[in-house]
């Protein structure tokens, strides 16, 4: 997917990536790649400012954790209650939008 297109939806993707469990930045990117089967092409560095923005907006919270494999400090992000609610709302909005787009473009509605 084109980077610019992706940018507009990055927040939603990030919220979805940490829905099940708290993850650090690298794991979030891996998660996105895995779920999208490598189709999401974005500069990995842009994920971190986006995570910080979501944290500032109260949708994520983060804490330091020690990586078990190498002992390095890692910032782990997880959803707040507000973040969970925002994720639900945005998922619904996205589905409605996608449905409308598909209907117009003649795809699956």
């Amino acid at each position: 997917m084109h980077a610019e297109t992706l940018k507009g939806h990055l927040d939603l993707l990030l919220l979805a990536a940490v829905e099940a469990a708290g993850l650090h930045g690298y794991a979030i990117i891996e998660q996105l790649n895995r779920r999208s089967q490598g189709k999401l092409d974005l500069a990995e560095g842009t994920v971190y400012p986006a995570l910080h923005r979501l944290e500032r907006g109260g949708l994520l919270r983060s804490s330091w954790a020690i990586a078990p494999d190498n002992g390095r400090k890692r910032r782990v992000y997880e959803l707040t209650t507000r973040g969970r609610t925002a994720l639900r709302t945005q998922q619904e909005e996205w589905r409605a939008f996608a449905q409308a787009m598909n209907a117009v473009l003649g795809g699956v509605s």
């Binding site: 930045g25 842009t46 400012p49 390095r72 910032r75």
Partner: protein, 363 residues
Amino acid sequence: MSISTYLNELRAALRLGPLIRRRIMNEVEDHLREAAARERRAGATPEDAEERAVERFGAATEIAAAFLEVDGARATVGGFTVLWLSVSAASVVALLTSLYAPTAGSLATAPAPTGLVVETSPGGQFAQMRVEAQADDPEEGDDEAAPLVRATASVTVGRSSVAIRHARPQRHPAIAEPTTLVALSRLEPPRPDPLTPEREDPSDPMLASRAPADSDSDQDAPLLPPPAPPLVARQPSAPPPPSLAAPPQPVGRSSHAEVKYPPEARWAEAEGDVYLILHVDADGRVQNVTVAKRLGHGLDQVAQDLGYRLRFKPARDARGRSVEAFVNWKIHFTRGQKNVGLPGLPFRDQDMWSPIFPRRREI
């Protein structure tokens, strides 16, 4: 590029407070080391592995700019003094000097060291100024990395008020904090600006050529910019006493009609504050709205429209007379908001109307 070279570049571009910078550097390094380790496991040489990890992460200047935009407001950075000096020493003097002899068409671009642009309304009664300055030394030719400092000034020509609003854009730290309103409630007779740099000579021909706004309006006054004043710190020695007794007070809520949150902004999930400068006349009506800090996605226009709908109890001078004034106003937009209701608040009481010259801040 190796990881350590990349981290050095990033560190240099991150003009943030030490705590947040350390956190960012920590996260980025952790990411790059992990990515490189993965490349090595896939068979890359150590050099190639680092190269690929860095490449996938994105250009240091771009990533730094994104961090500055998000984390800037957290940090306390001492660019303010530089900013203030840039604006006060160069632009204010340039602006005031030229505005003493205003004609509608003659407020041409007044080049100042910071790149000063003066615009006038067709009637010549209201002028706007935008200044773009750099607080620190940017990398050569690298606009993205340069922390731009923007200043907006609202000026009433031929009347008594001048206001300067300078702000840092989003990516620059502490946008919401250094809101400064400079007011000269009486410009007649002209007096030296207390922030005028020391070397400015009161007998300067530029200052002598000042004329009242309403005289000789078609005279093509020479509006050469004043010599660039040195950007040296100087404490304002004796601020003029304020001549305003009361700031404008917002009244009523009936004018805060709801407006639609622009669909574009909803899709972009735009959230944040739009900062406005309201020019409130002596009847309490908003005569002009200048957007001092933008949010984009159509929200600036919404904020501006809302600004015009506000009503105020006019400002009063020491004798209790209604006078015009400038008010800083902030309109907050929250994601998911279908409509925009009560549209905002003054920044802070002391910022709303500040008829004194701001004190210099310590770095």
